[in-house]
């Protein structure tokens, strides 16, 4: 296990180096950030002065080397747009995204698994066919459309849920949470539902497929034959075995939800990291973009590793050498 973790950590370092290099290569095609930093009426000479002041006159590999050196010292650089440390900007937005992604994952997991079990018991019932058709919609309707549809129905026509923002938030230490106020929860419902929709559909289909396979197994027949109650058979004997791949997928998707909730956050003006990333792209704020992408890579790598380890713990058949 220790060698396994060590190997994964080494891979992580390589991945982080690779994504940062790719970022720097892409930046060369993203336009010149100095033009806006110097102001609209700056002369070309003044622009060059600003370029020197920020060390952007040096060749790309020197800039990259300096970036890596600073990162090793915990300094991700200052945003060109807001002129404050990039890492701080991102961490400030982390709680919003984390809460949104967590609620979305819980929603997707509970409903996905619940409906999946329900559907698998009577696959040909009309109601269950309807659910399956709906899940197909969940997979194929793009997020931005889903978000706008939900806003139209619940905010504009029915007027019962707020269309944007996080609502009233409370500070608990450094963490600004919206989970403790009614207003905050109200604001969370639509974006979380939008974000959960795709995952829900995937988990539902996964659970259903797993359940249908397991329900035909010999040991389930035995359980029925022993006269156990349906609840025990379904939840204790069948679902438990189905849940192993379901939990794995959920864990993997959680990382992606945190890192790339960009579309949902933009539509609902959710003050999270994805929103920040998008506006940083608009404004060509390169230090924030590269820091964000490295953070996202780190989160996904870490979560993948945790899932792998948990997998070994849940399923004794798996060993990492």
């Amino acid at each position: 296990m220790v060698t396994y973790i060590a190997r994964r950590l080494m891979q992580a370092v390589v991945v982080l180096l690779a994504v940062s290099t790719i970022c720097f290569v892409i930046f060369r095609y993203m336009g010149d950030p100095v033009i806006t930093m110097a102001g609209r009426y700056a002369t070309l000479q003044e622009i060059e002065e600003v370029r020197r002041a920020f060390g952007l006159d040096q060749p790309m590999y020197v800039q990259y080397g300096r970036f890596i050196w600073n990162v090793l010292h915990g300094n991700f650089g200052k945003s060109y747009v807001t002129r404050v440390p990039a890492l701080g900007l991102i961490l400030e937005r982390f709680p919003a995204t984390f809460e949104l992604a967590s609620v979305a994952v819980v929603m997707a997991f509970c409903l996905g698994v619940g409906l999946g079990v329900l559907v698998s018991l009577k696959p040909y019932a009309f109601r269950n066919r309807l659910i399956m058709a709906g899940s197909l919609g969940g997979i194929s309707i793009p997020t931005f459309l889903m978000g706008i549809l939900l806003i139209m129905v619940f905010s504009v026509y029915l007027g019962i849920l707020p269309p944007f923002g996080r609502g009233e938030t409370v500070r608990v230490g450094f963490w600004r949470t919206g989970l403790l106020t009614i207003d905050g929860l109200k604001h969370l419902i639509l974006p979380a539902a939008t974000l959960a929709m795709y995952q829900l559909a995937v988990l539902l289909r996964l659970t259903r497929a797993g359940m249908r396979e397991v329900m035909t197994e010999e040991y389930i027949k035995t359980a029925w034959a022993k006269g156990l109650s349906p609840r025990k058979v379904i939840f204790k004997h069948a679902l438990r075995n189905v849940l192993i791949p379901v939990i794995t997928i959920t864990g993997l998707q959680f990382g992606e939800l945190i890192a790339f909730a960009i579309i949902t956050e933009t539509i609902f003006q959710w003050p999270g990291m994805g929103n920040l990333l998008l506006s940083s792209f608009y404004e060509n704020d390169q230090p924030v973009i590269v820091t964000y992408i490295m953070m996202a890579a780190l989160i996904i790598i870490t979560l993948n590793m945790i899932v792998d380890i948990l997998y070994a713990l849940i399923n004794p058949k798996i060993r990492y050498g």
Binding site: L44, A53, R83, C110, S155, Y282
Partner: protein, 510 residues
């Protein structure tokens, strides 16, 4: 598992029942803006989108008031221009910063010195143009510029005065997020990406503003901004997209406010020797090939006014005598034939796709009109962060751009847009096609130290005619229109400003 389900169900029930309840507090104004502030450092962002936030927390030496945009005293009660290089400001007495410090000449000197520091300022150009700042007494300052700048005072509404003591003593990161100014509002809370809350400065030197609390919610996505307004979450929305205008108009609860914007949209032409556009007949043909009325009707949905020149009416240098060339594709074809391009030619039309109202669609339409007279315009639209550096590099052939000048003086604009490129002195920075005309340069340079307003007006008008009519440096398209929407029932008294700034001390409730 079952417990989890139950608790989730309970939470959702509680939430649904808690829906009823007033969203808007009566005394507070809630505004949805299209652009969030970048920071609370008044010199770090020279865009109007950023300056408009600062105008509420800070004051300049002068200010632009109300819907007319007239230049009026603010922290300076009057100013003098004793010689070409010197600007003398007499400061207002008894003004206090939000932290209680008194406003004096030392703060003015500190502010203007700070402008030249690239770490904190985007007003480098203004900062570097200053030679010296003399404190004559606590309430008199004389600023000397390196070269004559006739429009220096016209820009003083954009330079916000900071408190020397607290700016120097605070950590630089704190200065970026907490504004300490003399303005009509004090910042109470800024949660990035969520809201900016401010409260009235009861000791404001102009008298306390009528609205006591303002909450600004920046929402970039226009359909979300629209939903926020329709669902009654906000009182005023800025930047209403033309596509949603009719929908808001039909809604009985909403009120639309529109005003002609200062910004004009135009196409920049080049005259590089050896290219087709070096021939003025070609430039004229391109002008006449474009059906601007149709662009306004179909693409802008009526929310634009045709322009015959780059500056707008209140600008010094606007020439009412300039008229648009008529739309006449037949005449355009004839002109092209005379110039020896009967079969047309290839050209690249560059433009931004995220900067102006319908920018990419306008560019597409222009390319189609040109195709009708045989000119094959290849479209190359891109994000503004890539487009503008290309303009400043001066290597474009033909592009779409928009402009308005905060100083209300065409001189500064023309030095950037029309003067031939000179990297040393910084002329022609936004002359992206490297247009070059010696006569125009000469006339423009003669205005550099022209301070007399009447003379200046006359010369700039002459210059404007030369560029727009005699030389056809640009093809003017239209002036944009700024669209806002408000809640009808709230009794909001709101008059949009020409510069699109939202200055809350100018807004009231009936």
């Amino acid at each position: 598992m079952k417990k989890l389900f139950l608790s989730l169900f309970a939470i959702s029930l509680v939430t649904v029942f808690a829906m009823a309840g007033p969203v808007l507090a009566a005394s507070a104004l809630v505004v949805a803006q299209d652009t969030p502030p970048r920071m609370m450092n008044p010199h770090g962002d020279d865009s109007d989108a950023g300056l408009q936030y600062m105008a509420n927390f800070f004051d300049g030496l002068l200010q632009r008031k109300g819907s007319g945009g007239t230049l009026e005293p603010a922290l300076a009660v009057r100013w003098e221009h004793p010689d070409l290089l010197t600007w003398k400001f007499y400061l207002r007495k008894g003004v206090k910063f939000h932290n209680g410090n008194s406003f004096t000449a030392a703060d003015v000197k500190f502010t203007f010195e700070r402008l030249g520091d690239p770490e904190v300022s985007e007003f480098i150009n203004t900062g570097k143009s200053i030679d010296s700042i003399d404190i004559i007494d606590d309430y008199t300052v004389a600023i000397k510029t390196k070269t004559p700048i006739p429009w220096f005072a016209n820009n003083m509404h954009q330079i916000f005065i900071m408190d020397k003591e607290s700016t120097e003593s605070r950590d630089s990161g704190d200065v970026m997020v907490k504004p300490i100014g003399t303005g009509a509002y004090k910042l109470t809370e800024w949660v990035k990406g969520s809201y900016i809350r401010m409260e009235a400065n009861e000791d404001y030197w102009e008298g306390a503003p009528p609205i006591k609390k303002v909450e600004i919610r920046p929402i970039r996505e226009s359909s979300t901004r629209f939903a926020a307004l329709v669902s009654g979450q906000v009182d005023i929305v800025t930047g209403v997209p033309v596509e949603l205008y009719d929908k808001i108009l039909k809604n009985p609860k909403l009120h639309v406010v529109s005003r002609p914007a200062r910004r004009s949209i135009f196409l920049a032409l080049g005259n590089k020797p050896g290219t087709p556009m070096a021939d003025i007949r070609v430039r004229k043909a391109m002008y006449m090939a474009i059906n601007e009325n149709e662009i306004i009707e179909k693409i802008m949905r009526g929310h634009a006014a045709p322009a015959a020149q780059v500056p707008d009416p209140p600008t010094i240098g606007y020439n009412a005598g300039i008229k648009r060339l008529p739309y006449d594709p037949q005449a355009a074809k004839k002109l092209l034939k005379q110039a020896g391009y009967a079969n047309g030619f290839d050209i690249t039309l560059t433009g931004p796709n995220d900067r102006y109202v319908q920018d990419a669609k306008i560019a597409e339409a222009v390319a189609r009109y040109l195709a009708k007279v045989g000119i094959n315009a290849k479209l190359d639209v891109k994000p503004k962060s890539i487009f503008f550096p290309e303009v400043t590099s001066g290597k474009l052939e033909f592009y779409l751009i928009g402009w308005f000048d905060g100083t209300f003086d065409m001189g500064r604009t023309y030095f950037k847009l029309a003067h031939s490129r000179d990297e040393k002195i910084g002329f022609g920075k936004f002359n992206g096609t490297a247009y070059n005309n010696a006569a125009l340069d000469k006339l423009l340079e003669s205005t550099a130290d022209m301070v007399d307003v009447q003379q200046r007006k006359k010369t700039l008008q002459q210059l404007n005619k030369m560029a727009m009519v005699d030389q056809i440096v640009w093809i003017p398209l239209h002036y944009q229109e700024d669209l806002y929407a408000t809640q009808k029932g709230r009794g909001i008294q709101f008059q949009p400003r020409p510069d699109r700034w939202m200055v809350y001390k100018e807004i009231g409730f009936k």
